[in-house]
Amino acid sequence: MIEFRDVTKKYPDGTVAVDELNLTVEAGTITVFVGPSGCGKTTSLRMVNRMIDPSAGEVLIDGEDVRKSDPALLRRGIGYVIQQAGLFPHRTVLDNVATVPLLSGWTKAKARTRAAELLETVGLPAEMGKRFPAQLSGGQQQRVGVARALAADPPILLMDEPFSAVDPVVREGLQDELLRLQGELDKTIVFVTHDIDEAVRLGEKVAVFRQGGVLAQYDAPAEILARPADDFVSDFVGRDRGYRGLSFVDNEGLPIGQVDTVLVGGAHSPSQQWTLVLVDGDKPRGWLAPGSTVDGEWTTADALAGGSLYTRGTPLRGALDAALSSPAGLGVVVDDAGAYAGVVTAEEVLKVIESRRETAE
């Protein structure tokens, strides 16, 4: 557990980076600090491992004031993942990961064995250990950064905008990976980002900071989207917050319908309905418009591209998106294996939302 008690950071020029911060990060959770630049989120993070000391107040880890610890020893016990990974360019990937164990006095052999294990944990092949950071892609470097932070198995992990420098697709992969890792490792993670989408995706609790280092709201992400504490928070979470809030609404009561399907290469008699094209037996591939005809044996090229897929049992946001992005207006529902399970319409999703509102009242 990490506690900030009346923590203020004021610089000699009078700038207040953090203003009277009071906040408790529960052990074993991911807590996200989010806010615009200059809001004190990184400063607050760095006060946990004493890279910055507060001007007033105290930061406690498990009840102990961090200022009672030797900074270097304290830091070796806290994992840190920095923006752009911050890997040491002159050391191989394996030696980068082995940094903290070696500093803590492990033998070289033991530290390297541990480092090799961690590469596997973060999903990198062992032979990558021999490379230098410059030979890796941005996403791979970031994974190495995470492995390096985990090397000494610290109970706390501090992550300072770790995924901000990689492209959106890779970022999403890294976020999923972090959630998977956290499922296995159960660390106390403090994650800093300026991206509200990333914050609500990763955080069990989200702390929204505003300029001047003031904590504007500290709550579960669904609460922040549904009930922003003030105008700043509602502006910051943005116009789409109603839609994003659906990420936290379960799909109970959502009816799933069926449509005609056809296998690629199979016979298709013209239909007055939208028909879903399947490949490999049961995987959705696209749509055939009502009344469309094809001469002879037809291929996937004849089908209209499908929309996003909604995995059965996940929150409503995916269901609504699937329905809205489908040319047929029918969102394709798949099971966990990606096989066709049915369809939903936007209307049905909205009905579920409406009925929830009624029961809540």
């Binding site: 304290l74 040491f88 360019p89 500093l103 490379r131 892609s137 994974r143 950064g145």
Partner: protein, 225 residues
Amino acid sequence: MFGDIGTYLSSPGNRDLVLQQLLEHIYLSLLPLVLGLLVAIPLGWTATRFRWLRGLLLGGANILYTIPSLALFVILPAIIGTGITSPVNVIVALTLYTATLLVRPVVDALEAVPQHVVAAAVAMGYRPLARFFAVELPLAVPVLAAGARVASVSNISLVSVGALVGIGGLGLLFTKGFEIDYLPPIIIGILLTLILALIVDLLIVLLRNMLTRWQRVGAHVGGGS
């Protein structure tokens, strides 16, 4: 011409003289290179850690470097109490030149280490001194090597000036040649100075390459995430 050089070198006494002056030249130019580097690194490090010292050190270094070498060779004995022909004068003077020449590259190199790399080293739990040797200094090697190449050439040429105040080195061959108005020792002196400078330069490049293998790996063979 080449016949004259052959005649000159055919005398065992002359050969011994040339060899001895060459060894002395190597000693007088390379010891200050190493010493100067050892002085410049902590000075540069101090300049990056204490901003107010930066201007003072870099400005001071520039001024020192403008003192003519011959003047320094003559003044130094009075300051440090050595004899006018003592080789210590040359060593101290060239160490000063090397240090002043290298302070700026050291400062530049240390400041060029990316902030996120330094911050990562701090966050990993390196203490300042260990961090300097483990992270900042190795990353400064390319710039340091460039500075050392300039300093080595400068030293090798400046040692010759020492002969004017009676200190050994290949410069002695020049003064001797002038005294007796005889060209061969002068030409041998010039050639050996040149060859020495080239070999030392090559050695520095080889040492740099050994220490910076990480810089010459092909970037981005990774791909994917």
